[in-house]
Symmetry: C2
Subunit: 200 residues, 2 copies
DNA sequence: CTCCAATGTGACTACCCAGTCATATGTTAG
DNA sequence: CTAACATATGACTGGGTAGTCACATTGGAG
């Protein structure tokens, strides 16, 4: 958490700090990002930065939080619209795609956070993963109860697959993957590889 | 490529360099790994290291190559045994699992190489990805021709899914995921989420 | 034994980093 | 006007890094 001093700043100055930090953490993962560079680009002194934040990690987590806060505003719509699990999942990834398009830097910040293997971030990552897993489990459970999803599948394995594919999809949003491709990928997950006799 | 001097070394000394470098690159990704630390742990001088290798990248790529060379010795068996595409893929991941168990450090080196976003490694990563994609495309093509795999799916999307899931599976081999879980994950990919009417 | 090429060395350069602290400059209250 | 407090500063500390180079050592050929 930033110190009170940071929130006492006049908004334009505060925003400048945020903007430069976002740029830096979008460019490089936590360990390689340079607080010195952020400070320099902001036109403030090193000492000031340490009046605003406890340390580099404090600044980083604040920026990551901002990114996820904004992202939540997008993906929340997916759960609001309703429909079967496949509709919701497609909408979820479409909204993630919109987020990536509209906030490319925040998108990269979020991606790099997720990829990071840094020990200091381990706890934060695992907490996020657990909370997603819980939400997904409940969601999947309902879909299985409704008969939308094959009851023979292992829910943990399903989450594993969706998480892996979802992460990679989101990772590649800024590399020319469009909404059409997203649909085809979700088709693979929905239908499975084995030919469906019922459809032949 | 290491310089000739490296290959002129007495094997035990050469091996010590390799072993320490493997440890370091298993511990940390390229950018964060410390050549100075490798040198120190080897008990050789910095200058000597630069007699053996052009630079840090040269050493790194040599180590990564060793890791993949060893890994290939495992996964090659999957393609040798034959069977349908699902049998081969399961065997492929089982062999990857064996590799991770028997060579945990090389496994981590390979994983960290794959995860790395470093610009200097971009070309090497992309070349590896392309070559895998080509192999997979041919393999999938045959399976579709044989009717083993749903012809309605987009081959590129199938590769995307398998690559994402496979990467994550392999990433988590050293975190208590066993062969049973692997099978369940592959079931999800094989069958898809939607309930199959033919099996009800 | 001698010479020479191959090999080994580690102090050194030139850089980068996070975080600190004594000092200076507002800013507000009495 | 002054005292007290909040904020700003940047040189500095102590640490790390990759890569270099003048010099030292070694080992074999003649």
């Amino acid at each position: 958490m930033p110190k009170q001093t940071f929130f006492n700043l006049e908004p334009p100055k505060r925003q400048r700090v945020i903007d430069r930090a976002v740029e830096e953490f979008a460019r490089l993962p936590f360990e390689q990002a340079s607080l010195s560079k952020v400070v320099e680009d902001c036109g403030i002194s090193k000492g000031s930065m340490y009046q605003y934040f406890e340390d580099k990690l404090d600044l980083y987590l604040y920026i990551v939080d901002l990114a996820y806060e904004e992202k939540r505003r997008f993906v929340a719509q997916a759960f609001a619209t309703g429909g079967d699990i496949f509709t919701v999942l497609e909408e979820y990834y479409l909204q993630s795609y919109c987020f990536a398009q509209e906030h490319p830097l925040l998108h990269q910040v979020a991606n790099k956070f997720w990829d990071s293997k840094a020990e200091v971030l381990k706890e934060h990552r695992e907490q996020g993963l657990l909370s997603r897993a819980r939400d997904f489990a409940q969601f999947l459970n309902e879909a299985m109860a409704q008969g939308e999803v094959n009851r023979g599948l292992d829910p943990e394995a399903v989450f594993f697959v969706y998480h892996a594919v979802g992460k990679d999809l989101i990772d590649h949003f800024d590399q020319g993957r469009n909404g059409q491709f997203l649909k085809k990928v979700l088709d693979v997950l929905r239908l499975g590889l084995t030919t469906r006799r019922e459809e032949m």
